[in-house]
Subunit: 291 residues, 4 copies
């Protein structure tokens, strides 16, 4: 199977390498060309422009850094739109908001092309090992056609219905995760201030009903004040804001998520926006001499 | 090793049977005698009163239904206090508040006895299979002496320091669990109202960083409005209240737990106090025609 | 002094009548012409189009129903923009968001005109009696030139600096008001359920440090479940959302406003969006048999 | 009319002086005797003990610093209980919790005496000028008999029903006040960070529907970071905790009060427990470099 691949950032490179290793023919493009070298060394072809890649391939996958980049690669000169046509599919695996996704979808389909949004959950390592979770929505036929590629890239892929649903699912998951992180942080501080050893709390939690990889992975670092940014606090807060906005549109009252969102905002006001979102722990910690 | 065992409710019966199976000699007592029959059939002896059990055994374990029962078995006529003395140990595995635990501790130690509070996390099935988590605090030497019994009863035991810490650890864990349940409920309703299939959300969550047994175990039932009471909502809310009070005493501000606590109170006001705490989902659901 | 006046809704009619009574010469325009009859009977002239009014008057005031109408009157054919020019001033007293205000401001000033946004606080009755509070921002010279008109229309006017600040001030005030209404509602329900007479609470509050016109005015109606819409709940919730968004942009964490906002959203989900915002009381009330 | 008066602190002295000025015969007692000098100079008699005062007077009023002092004056040797009897009335105007009030009530009535709890709202100045608000509960006949004294002491008195209701009413009012203070603080910070002058906000608020003495009185000081303690933050937080507990007992969910309570706890954790409760403003302010 032959696929185009636009964007060779951390995720894109790992994913395209993975496709090559599994026998796919891949034609890549990246804004800065030298980033193509490694994948070319492993057998990829290079396209000069997004348009050229789309012209050559029946299916083109993109994974770009943000909504602006995702739009640019489609709408700019020599972009996807110039060559997309009936019979060709375009799959955007970038994490973007539902509005951006809809805009791209409309443009692609108005040219007769097929479009799938397919944001992923998982970072660099799962990308390298094909352990991503793929949240696809849009053109069902294209989803099925892309099945062999998704099987290589992810441990599991979902087809979630109409365009926008992939982005929404990510928001809902991240919202829950943000509230859970706040609950965890409050518990860690309460344990310590209440005279317990918070390391014992980590051990007890890990044996119980809410044991989860995040507590296990981030807990010990948090107790060392280590907030190396895996997922920056300001991005987590942005996702909570967007999830709350989705709730607002649908008249869903979410008091716990709202409280968690304000805690993340407090984190931003304390200068913690660029470190890991687990730094919300700092907003709970004792600040001065209590009274 | 020979141990006394006071209280043959669901937990106590499973635990004493487990001790017998693993070669312990066990002398049991229960307020209603006929409940002793099954364990006697498996080799246990019977004591007529708590005092008699303590007189006979170097170490006596109790697991009773509530603080009142825990106090009664110690302080009433023919109670533990009449025979406890230097060289004997008493281990209360009931779930009680720190104040009750301290009161029992003072009485036992003033007679020269050794005392350990050791509430457990886990219900009937883990009790039968020796998979409890034991949260012990108090007399360290007694903790070590009881090691062989704890190894049979639990998959893991913790020694958490001074009396009261076992109870506190349970409160902190339950507080986190209550907030997590609220986060989960808000996410389920947001998914459904936002046009997603909440079953997909369960699947996506189970593949990610906050995958945990509680989501996996309770999620599908919640989507069927099935709130069969494993842990009644009113008890969960009581534990959140006590955890917030512990925070109050230590000047720890916990806005997410406070919001979750109010949601559980809303659940009580909706008549959901006696069903499972996952019924907090109902407080998030749409009530009437939105506007 | 001669002024143009665009928009003769409830507010506009009261305000233009007030200007006439106080000796101003007024040229009015309204989309549906017959609404001009009454003010014409009191001495106003009529302009056929917004452009014609602007052509005739040095200063033109507008008060329109919403952002769409505010934009239309400026940008549409025969709109304000066609005649605004150096030496002429345009004052928009509609309640709009900062973005709409900025858009109008840019268009007016690019033609050499002077622009002031001047939303008001106060409804029909204060408009009739000249007791409005005017929240002006933008062109300082125009603010001063319009002083005689503002003195007639309002009991007090403020100049708040750059364009957008008038709108922001309204959001901040409404945000505080929304939280205060929630605090009040919670207190009323707590009093009643705690065995007190909520009418006594109204009386006690009115004698104390937080006595205010809103408690006095709306309290008795709320105790009769009377939520006749003075300010619809859904509009109050929208203002809280916008105020929270302003806080988000400036990293201000506002947990109480966030909790109040979720309560108003709950109100919307209960079908109370179109009645008065005091109906948030219903979200606090007991729903079923408590446990 | 002749009354006994126990306790000559700031409030008690002002109140007893006020009674004397208005023609009452007053017999006073105070733990430290020299504090009686000034009221004696204005015509009061002195009793050696609380018991002696009660023996001499048909009605005895007490206003003491805290629950411990209120209990001591009744139950200690030479206390009220030794002389209270059928036909005599005892009115406790101290601010105490409902439990303390009930305990005193039971003791007094078991001796045949009549009891009224009557906490006041208002501080030193209203006490001097007879402008207190009196929140009475308990014995209705005694309430009426004490009418002439209440008319002198307060601008208004309420009879609120059974013992405990006076204390409860104070809690509900203080809970609302605490939430309102948080709403106000969030608004002040939002205004400033959003580019508005917070002094303008004070002026605009004071012209609108939620204008109130507290905003007017404390607002300017808050903008100077002046938190001179009129009502210490830790006492405000304690009252919110007690009000939330009252809600808990009655299954009333109060998310806004809960969020406000957590903010006051954050204030305590920042070392602000002993300054005025308006210092909750500091918890909202920007802490470091935002992101």
């Amino acid at each position: 199977m032959e696929v185009g691949f636009l964007g060779l950032g951390i995720m894109g490179k790992a994913m395209s390498m993975n496709l090559l290793k599994n026998g796919f023919k891949v034609t890549v493009w990246n804004r800065t060309l030298y980033k193509c070298d490694e994948v070319v060394a492993h057998g990829a072809s290079v396209g000069e422009t997004p348009a050229e890649v789309v012209k050559k391939c029946k299916i083109t996958i993109a994974i770009l850094s943000d909504p602006a980049a995702a739009l640019s690669v489609v709408f700019d000169k020599d972009g996807v739109l110039e060559q997309i046509c009936n019979g060709k599919g375009y799959i955007d695996m970038s994490t973007v908001d539902p509005q951006t996704s809809c805009k791209i979808s409309e443009a692609i389909t108005s040219k007769g092309g097929h479009f799938l949004e397919a944001p992923v959950s998982g970072s660099k390592q799962p990308a390298e090992t094909g352990q991503l979770v793929i949240l696809a929505a849009g053109d069902k036929a294209l989803y099925e056609e892309a099945g062999p590629a998704f099987n290589v890239l992810g441990k599991k892929s979902f087809f979630l219905g109409q365009i926008g649903n992939g982005a929404k699912m990510k928001l809902v998951v991240n919202m829950i995760m943000g509230s859970v992180m706040n609950a965890f942080s409050e518990g860690l501080v309460l344990a310590e201030r209440g005279g317990l050893n918070p390391h014992d709390l980590l051990d007890v939690l890990d044996l119980g009903g809410i044991a989860n990889p995040m507590f296990r992975g981030k807990g010990p670092a948090m107790l060392r004040d280590d907030y190396s940014p895996a997922f920056p606090l300001k991005h987590q807060q942005k996702d909570m804001r967007l999830a709350l906005a989705l709730g607002d549109q649908n008249a869903v009252s979410m008091p716990v998520a709202a409280a968690a969102n304000e805690a993340f905002k407090k984190g931003r006001s304390m200068g913690l926006g660029d470190v890991d979102f687990s730094a919300v722990l700092e907003t709970v910690k004792l600040l001065k001499h209590p009274s």
